[in-house]
């Protein structure tokens, strides 16, 4: 049991580090970042203190969790994190485009006015 806790703890710490690095490099939008920080801390807490999870699994009648499932879960988590990063990048570009359009529209209307008057 204690070994499982250590393994899970290390995995979730790795996960938290990936999240933190992504945020620090501005790869994650704040909206997503908050969610991921919360998620990372929850996973870490549950890996150190798994009692609530164990109680839940007993209540559901599950008492054997194949290691494969654990790995696929971590794998999926990383994929979703990657999507979150990609989405942040797209939103950023989208924002820049919208700002440019706004500024260009202003310049265009100024030029048109000048042409009319000149």
């Amino acid at each position: 049991m204690i070994r499982l806790r250590i393994t899970a703890g290390i995995c979730s710490l790795f996960f938290l580090t990936v999240i933190f690095e992504a945020i620090r490099r501005r790869k994650l939008m704040e909206k997503h970042a908050l969610l991921w920080i919360f998620c990372g801390i929850l996973v870490f807490a549950l890996s150190i203190f798994p009692e609530p999870l164990i109680r839940l699994s007993e209540a559901l009648g599950i008492n054997y969790l194949p290691i494969l499932l654990l790995f696929s879960f971590i794998f999926l988590l990383l994929i979703v994190l990657y999507f979150s990063i990609a989405l942040s990048r797209l939103s950023e570009k989208n924002r820049e485009l919208a700002q440019e359009i706004g500024i260009l529209k202003l310049k265009l209307s100024n030029t048109e006015k000048k042409n009319k008057n000149g």
């Binding site: 945020i23 501005r26 529209k105």
Partner: protein
């Protein structure tokens, strides 16, 4: 305002009722300044109301949120080489006669960013208890981070010089940007000063921060500020704006 190019930026979302009056108020008080309205994808005819008053309008194609709208204004100010930019709410909360006071520290080069404070001086500003707690919390936190005495870090009535305009045009936080912008500015080495101001109660429309959002706002900004402290600094990755 000895031949300094001054731009007053008014971000506006669904403010067709107020924006005309705000523009008139600014023009009356600082006739030499240019006025830029950033219409953040309003559903009403805010853009038309502003154009009717002969203000320049950045008409964003859809709603981007206050942070991105302000940044569009700063990008414009930076490219058009304004010496000073003033950010002022488009709903008439910030009476324009105070702009001269606000930008005085910029003109005398005592600061790079001037923030209006509702609490300095004897004007006495009251708000709901929860909002007040949030405001005090952030002021204490920001005073600690910047080692300056700051009393009102959530106020959106601000003046910036060229250096600050450049910084904000490169990076400006997205939602609820006021507190975070100050942390980033401090990391950038910009000098921040406060000036006492007075605000008016809103007449029409809804403020962007409702009562029930106060709690979420506080937690969100708190975490964002902590993240900002670890982030790479904005002027660091110079890219052409």
């Amino acid at each position: 305002m000895q031949n300094k190019k001054v731009l007053i930026i008014l971000p506006a979302y669904n403010e067709e009722e107020n924006i005309g009056k705000v523009i008139e108020d600014v023009r009356k008080n600082i006739p030499t300044a240019d006025i830029l309205v950033v219409n953040d994808g309003s559903l009403d005819s805010t853009a038309k109301a502003a154009k009717d008053k002969e203000a320049a309008v950045i008409d964003l194609p859809f709603n981007l949120g206050i942070g991105a709208a302000m940044q569009a204004g700063y990008k414009f100010a930076y490219r058009e080489e304004y010496d000073i930019a003033v950010q002022c709410d488009g709903d008439g909360q910030h009476p324009a006669y105070q702009i001269k006071n606000l930008i005085a520290p910029l003109l005398s080069n005592k600061a790079d960013i001037v923030v209006g404070s509702r609490f300095l001086g004897s004007f006495g500003y009251r708000s709901s208890v929860w909002r007040q707690i949030g405001i005090v919390l952030f002021s204490k936190l920001l005073s600690f981070i910047t080692k300056e005495r700051l009393t009102d870090t959530t106020c959106g009535f601000r003046g910036l010089n060229k250096k600050a305009i450049k910084s904000f045009s490169i990076y400006y936080p997205c939602d609820y940007p006021e507190v975070e912008a100050l942390v980033l500015a401090h990391k950038e080495g910009l000098r921040i000063t406060e000036v006492p101001i007075r605000i008016y109660r809103r007449k029409q429309g809804n403020s962007s921060i409702g009562f029930f959002d106060s709690f979420y706002y506080t937690i969100k900004v708190l975490i964002a500020v902590v993240i900002d402290l670890f982030e790479e600094t904005p002027l660091r990755k110079e890219k052409p704006v």
